[in-house]
């Protein structure tokens, strides 16, 4: 073990707390929660420091712990508010988007985002709007969307960890995208 990297917990706060915090805050969107997650991560790192083998960098190892804590956080916050993922959130109304025939309501039709000077999707402004719209999703949609596109987990893994059936997973993902797209359009194009 001597040639491998050794953990140096005394320098964790100094070296890694800010990057762990930035990673967390984008995903949980709440300063206090993000700070608690960083603290939990470092504490559990310290308690399990003997299992750090030095096969990966210390930073990678701590990020692995943080990622698991974030997924636990999604699971907890989504099951706090609903009995299970088999009970789809009733506050969502497909009729806000489509008419009885399943065609787009006139007010909900996607408008073109190009040619209006609004195609700098990598910009800070676009990312801020996306972030704000993510927060406004229902808890169910936010958990599923974040695990897929921020944590980049496979859908079957997400179903397993949230105890949601594959068919409900697709329904929730569909809702998340309908809501997100419209929220972004309102704030990015129409404003």
């Amino acid at each position: 073990m001597s040639w491998k990297e050794k953990a140096a917990p005394q320098r964790w706060v100094e070296n890694f707390s800010d990057s762990l915090f930035r990673y967390a805050i984008v995903r949980v969107n709440d300063r206090e929660t993000a700070r608690d997650l960083v603290q939990d991560t470092l504490l559990s790192g310290l308690q399990n420091v003997s299992s750090f083998r030095g096969d990966s960098a210390e930073k990678t190892w701590l990020f692995t712990i943080l990622k698991n804590k974030i997924i636990d956080h999604y699971r907890r916050s989504s099951t706090d508010k609903i009995v299970s993922f088999e009970d789809l959130d009733e506050s969502f109304n497909l009729g806000d988007y489509f008419d009885k025939e399943g065609e787009w309501n006139e007010s909900a039709r996607p408008i073109s985002w190009t040619g209006s000077g609004h195609d700098d999707y990598g910009s800070k402004e676009f990312h801020e709007i996306l972030q704000r719209c993510l927060v406004r999703l229902t808890v169910q949609c936010r958990a599923v969307f974040s695990m897929k596109y921020l944590e980049e987990l496979e859908s079957d893994e997400i179903c397993k960890r949230l105890s949601v059936s594959a068919s409900n997973y697709w329904v929730i993902m569909h809702r998340a995208k309908l809501m997100l797209r419209r929220c972004i359009e309102k704030n990015w194009i129409e404003s």
């Binding site: 915090f21 504490l43 859908s155």
Partner: protein, 84 residues
């Protein structure tokens, strides 16, 4: 073949992003997209959203005070471990 409605098409579009369509769903969606510009926009725009979601970053930092508190928590555990 019957043309699927936009509800179904947008549902399939979000499945398509994860390469989860069957052959007949792919065909149904393909035909729908030929005739529906709104769903074509939905497809393009949700693609942008998923791509940018992966790239979200924050510029916020912990304050010195917050760092000090975390350090205290860590120190407390460290002391307990040494005393065990």
């Amino acid at each position: 073949m019957e043309i699927i409605p936009c509800t179904q098409a947008t549902y399939l579009i979000s499945k398509r992003e994860e390469r989860a369509l069957t052959l007949s769903e792919r065909i149904q969606l393909f035909v729908h997209l030929i005739i529906c510009e709104f769903c074509r926009r939905f497809l393009e725009q949700t693609k942008i959203i998923s791509k940018e979601a992966r790239r979200l970053v924050s510029e916020e930092s912990l304050t010195e005070e917050e760092k000090r508190k975390i350090q205290e928590e860590l120190d407390a555990i460290g002391l307990n471990r040494r005393n065990e």
